[in-house]
């Protein structure tokens, strides 16, 4: 369906990634946000707090990130589209509720503008070191979706997509920005509302009594209802049956946990979002994401100037990891070069996907800045040798 025009600030803007993310959320139909101040992400909710009273919605600043990350889920079950925004230490506090959203299949978006860690780390400087935490941070087996923008424009476009995917798959979506993209100011084009596609809530048409809260549809995703509609339903983070009631036995656990995993894994091809260039003849593929992909672009150019056939595979969707896609790519190239502002989190995923068919060379950075193109270039040259 088309976006509600009240939330769409159609026009050409010169704004940073944090502000663009906020506009993306508004365009996607988010009418509720809860947050707790933390650098370098706070601008997202600051803008939301200023904008939302004229759009029709609520921002509430909570007492901590534990609260923010569950308040949004209360709002979702009350009928709203909702999100929260944070950075490293706050993201750590939200982990339990990422698991709750995964388990209860509550559609919502967690924005993480990544900064240097661990612990308080580098509050004002960039990193991409929460990528594994986004995937595995909450306890137990589950799947999430994670997107990684590399420009303010994508902070708008992909925030809309993050909300849409969270609704379609009924899963929490991690929107993995970084300090650079968050604070980078560029042109952002916000299209007219009728050009913004919004995925509506998968609300059931069944009547109370004929509806089971966790009975999956063909795509393994169950339909939803909201409080106050007469369904008298129950939601729990305990292992539950199709009625939503606690049912703690091995068979129910197996059925539930496998479905939660499978509803996303089975859609891997649909969820593979990559931006590729120069792969026709490439021997070396630079696999990157977020701000690092922009540094990598320069390194690829430099390599081409030196006669090395280098190409780009930028991951827009990072989780679920595009295993099949990279496996196919590995079969026809010599090596993956994986620069990222961490000590090799996604490089190991690339290596796993390549399964030995191509070499994987990580280009690590502990955080606080971006790579020098030269560092990536050296890895490309080594890979080509």
């Amino acid at each position: 369906m088309q976006a509600d025009p009240r939330g769409v600030l159609t026009g050409i803007h010169f704004i940073d990634g944090d502000h663009a993310c906020c506009e993306g959320a508004l365009a996607a139909g988010a009418r509720f946000a809860a947050g707790y101040p933390i650098t370098p992400s706070t601008e997202v909710v600051e803008r939301f707090a200023a904008r939302i009273p004229t759009v029709g919605g609520i921002f509430i600043q909570m007492e901590d990130e534990l609260a923010a990350s569950i308040t949004i889920q209360g709002a979702v079950w009350g009928g709203a589209k909702a999100f929260t925004v944070t950075s490293g230490p706050g993201f750590s506090l939200m982990m339990e509720h990422i698991g709750y959203a995964a388990m209860t299949e509550t559609p919502c978006v967690f924005v993480n503008v990544q900064r240097g860690g661990p612990s308080t780390g580098l509050p004002t400087l960039p990193a991409q070191a929460d990528m594994m935490q986004a995937r595995w941070g909450s306890h137990g087996d589950y799947e999430i979706i994670a997107l990684s923008p590399n420009s303010p424009q994508e902070c708008f476009d992909l925030t809309v997509r993050a909300f849409n995917l969270s609704e379609e798959y009924r899963t929490p979506v991690m929107f993995m920005m970084d300090e650079c993209v968050g604070h980078m100011t560029e042109k952002v084009v916000i299209p007219p509302a009728e050009q913004v596609e919004v995925y509506p809530r998968r609300h059931t048409r069944r009547a109370p009594g004929a509806y089971k809260p966790y009975e999956p549809e063909a795509d393994l995703v169950p339909e939803m209802v909201h409080a106050g509609e007469g369904y008298r339903f129950h939601i729990t983070g305990l292992t539950h049956d199709e009625w939503g009631y606690p049912n703690m036995n091995v068979a129910t656990q197996d059925r539930l946990v496998r479905r939660l995993q499978q509803k996303i894994r089975a859609a891997e091809d649909r969820l593979t979002m990559v931006d590729e260039h120069g792969l026709e003849d490439a021997e070396v593929v630079v696999v990157s994401y977020g701000i690092t992909s922009r540094v990598a672009e320069r390194a690829i150019e430099m390599a081409r100037q030196r006669g090395v056939k280098a190409g780009r595979c930028r991951l827009i969707g990072v989780w679920p990891f595009p295993d099949r896609h990279l496996k196919a790519l590995a079969a026809r190239v010599k090596a993956f070069v994986v620069p990222e502002i961490n000590l090799g989190q996604i490089a190991r995923e690339g290596e796993r996907a390549a399964g030995g068919a191509a070499r994987t060379i990580p280009v690590t950075h502990a955080g606080g800045g971006v790579h020098r193109p030269q560092d990536i270039l050296e890895a490309i040259m080594e890979a080509a040798r």
Partner: protein
């Protein structure tokens, strides 16, 4: 022999009878509070489709699973922030948080004081059994000094929270305490908070014969009823600073606070419409009718 007439408990329509038997122990007081709550709801003549119960984790956290209402069993300590989001997204709902002393005042204590400060229009019912029961009877923030628990085998030496004083200081609009012996008074209090706007708090002292009374040689569920009866004194309007509980001392019960404060939505609406005038747009609630 003629067939006996079918007897239906009037609260039965409010219970998920298909989920019985419940998990609570013989002599436990949680079921008694649920009975009072169900009666208060029936007497209130509220549209029950618009009443939501939110629970945290623990024995009392299981209440959400047994009431035939929209019900949310959330994470440990976070029932209040979940309820806050639910209420703000759909203000037409009556949102009741039903949880225990450990859940609401240790792991969830921060949320309790802030929700009271904001005066979010939610009703918090705290079943206070003085310990963490679900996990085996460990010390909690309400455990009285000298009481024996699984993690205080020589007796608790921490001071306990006076929950009612805390609620009042943080800004609650309504504060009352009863025990599971006071079923009529408790039902009446529950009815009052269902009619009241703002953050309301009811503490219900409730036995855990399995893990608290047994360890402290205080007998079974029935003995605890006698104990409540002997030790309780109705002190409506008492300053909450004077109603702290001790292991064997007087149990002050009654309604301590009943005051009017603008609730969160009212304050938000007031300020934003004053500042923004016609530009202020109320949140459209997709579910409200």
């Amino acid at each position: 022999m003629s067939a006996l007439p079918e007897i239906v408990n009037p609260v039965e329509p409010l219970l998920r009878t298909e989920r019985m038997p419940h998990i609570w122990c013989p002599g436990c007081g949680i079921g008694t509070t649920v009975n009072c709550f169900a009666r208060a709801l029936l007497e209130s003549q509220r549209n029950l489709d618009r009443v939501a119960v939110v629970s945290g984790i623990g024995c009392s956290g299981r209440v959400a699973g047994y009431v035939k209402l929209d019900s949310f069993h959330t994470t440990h300590g976070r029932a209040i922030p979940f309820a806050t989001g639910l209420k703000l997204a759909n203000p037409s709902l009556e949102v009741v948080v039903y949880s225990g002393d450990g859940d609401l005042f240790a792991i969830g204590g921060n949320h309790f004081i802030h929700a009271a400060r904001r005066n979010v229009d939610i009703k918090v019912i705290c079943v206070n059994n003085l310990i963490y029961a679900m996990t085996g009877g460990q010390t909690g923030p309400a455990t009285p000094s000298t009481a024996i628990t699984a993690t205080a085998p020589y007796g608790c030496y921490e001071p306990s929270f006076n929950l009612c004083a805390l609620a009042e200081a943080a800004g609650a609009s309504y504060v009352a305490r009863w025990t599971t012996f006071h079923v009529r008074q408790l039902t009446k209090s529950m009815g009052e908070v269902l009619r009241k706007r703002g953050f309301c708090f009811i503490e219900v002292l409730s036995p855990c014969p399995t893990l608290y009374q047994r360890r402290n040689k205080m007998g079974d569920g029935l003995d605890t009823m006698k104990f409540y009866k002997e030790k309780s004194r109705v002190r409506n309007g008492a300053p909450t600073s004077e109603v702290a509980l001790t292991k064997d001392g007087e149990i002050a019960v009654g309604k301590f606070v009943d005051r009017e404060r603008p609730d969160y939505i009212e304050s938000m609406r007031g300020r934003l419409s004053e500042q923004l005038g016609d530009r202020y747009v109320e949140m459209e609630c997709p579910v409200c009718q």
